[in-house]
Point group: C2
Chain length 243, copies 2
């Protein structure tokens, strides 16, 4: 406020990405092996600094998504997760990181590409259980991203972002089961999602058989917020009531 000579301090602004996907019914996150110090050799979330002083933060997130993961931001869900700016989080100096969360459909090949050679899909369980350590405060960022995803499945159509453009209800259910970590009744789930207007809409030819009756195909509907929501089973609740 009182600015005679005083000038506000400048900081370095970085963008980090929590990119989640489903591979063989398990939740995975994209990690890169760091090539330079600090934390050289450690696993970290993809990310980087702003390109120049006039680059928009969201644009920088899309650029990193393209450069490090070879993913097209216009084809997947991307939202801001939070900003992490503890003074000592990066030994190089004052780096403030804006974390973004991306949800990608399951992809056939990992990310074998040009610039993204170091990137690999890792099961989130490996990080959760402590088997895999991440650089900086990236474990916290990932944890926040997972928590956000779990919550958003209930109230938003985020789950369809894990699926290909057309998908079956079973595939959608597997998303919920993987992210929530609970089994769901296939029959009730089917009716429930179809009961939410605008969540999923039928998509053409019901053919994609894996040995049983072919499932009908759907694609994501226009609705972003689910009403009524899909409530996840609450083991904690029933336990507490019994006592």
């Amino acid at each position: 406020m009182t600015d005679e000579e005083w000038r506000p301090p400048e900081v370095l602004l970085a963008v980090d990405l929590v990119i989640l996907t489903l591979r063989s019914s398990r939740l995975h996150v994209l990690l890169v092996e760091r090539g330079i110090e600090p934390y050289a050799g450690a696993q970290a979330l993809p990310g980087g600094f702003l390109n120049n002083a006039s680059e928009d933060i969201a644009v920088a997130a899309e650029r990193e998504l393209r450069e490090e993961a070879e993913l097209d931001a216009s084809r997947l869900h991307l939202e801001q997760l939070g900003t992490y700016g503890a003074p000592d989080r990066d030994p190089r100096g004052r780096v403030v990181s804006v974390a973004y969360q991306a949800i990608a459909p399951g992809l056939p090949s990992p990310v074998a590409g040009t610039d993204a050679a170091a990137a690999e899909w890792r099961p989130v369980d490996d990080v959760d259980s402590g088997r895999l350590k991440l650089a900086f405060d990236h474990e916290r960022i990932l944890a926040d991203g997972l928590e956000r995803a779990r919550g958003k499945l209930e109230h938003s159509s985020l789950a369809t972002a894990f699926c290909a453009e057309v998908f079956t209800i079973s595939e959608l259910r597997q998303v919920y089961e993987a992210v929530w970590g609970v089994p769901l009744d296939q029959r009730n789930f089917s009716r429930k999602v179809q009961g939410v207007p605008g969540f999923i809409v039928p998509a053409g030819t019901p053919r994609r058989t894996t040995g049983g009756r072919p499932a009908r195909l759907f694609r994501a509907g226009p609705r972003e917020t689910l009403d009524p929501p899909l409530t996840r089973p609450a083991p904690s609740r029933t336990r507490e009531v019994t006592e």
Copy 2:
């Protein structure tokens, strides 16, 4: 990645505050009149730049809360809302703002103080309806904060942050009615909140009469997440189903 000579750009980091409270059953936000350009004379959210390069962002938010609103961060709810960094959001240059949301109990006097002379509580309706214009992108920040608050009332104990240390169930209900903008049945609400274990706990002498039977007093319980949640009535849902 390829850093021969290249250095990442630096940005100015600001903190803005969405401070909400309840005054005479209406939701208010704290606004300050800007004294300097840009937007001199306009209403804006309280906020400011980092003090120095090693100040933590959350600490800066607490400091602004103290300086501009004379509120003690340790006594109220404070959480990060989001980061706003469009390149053209501030004509002075590249300013990235980390927005924080604070919830304060209704206070007797507004904020008549020393440094916070320019701060005033304003009904959020005045901004919502367009009667009151805000500087920068602060209308969007406020809108995001309101949306966040509305959602969090359902799943968290945020509502108690609007109340004094001890409060009646009616007072708590008024919080929900003001933030959601809907009337709630006093009797069902009473049972519902008491049915959530750990949400509110009895607090001593039931005395605070305004002409009727004295209400029992409560204080916030240990629980942060509500299980089961308090669902808000959905007028949109019933309307859409009928059509």
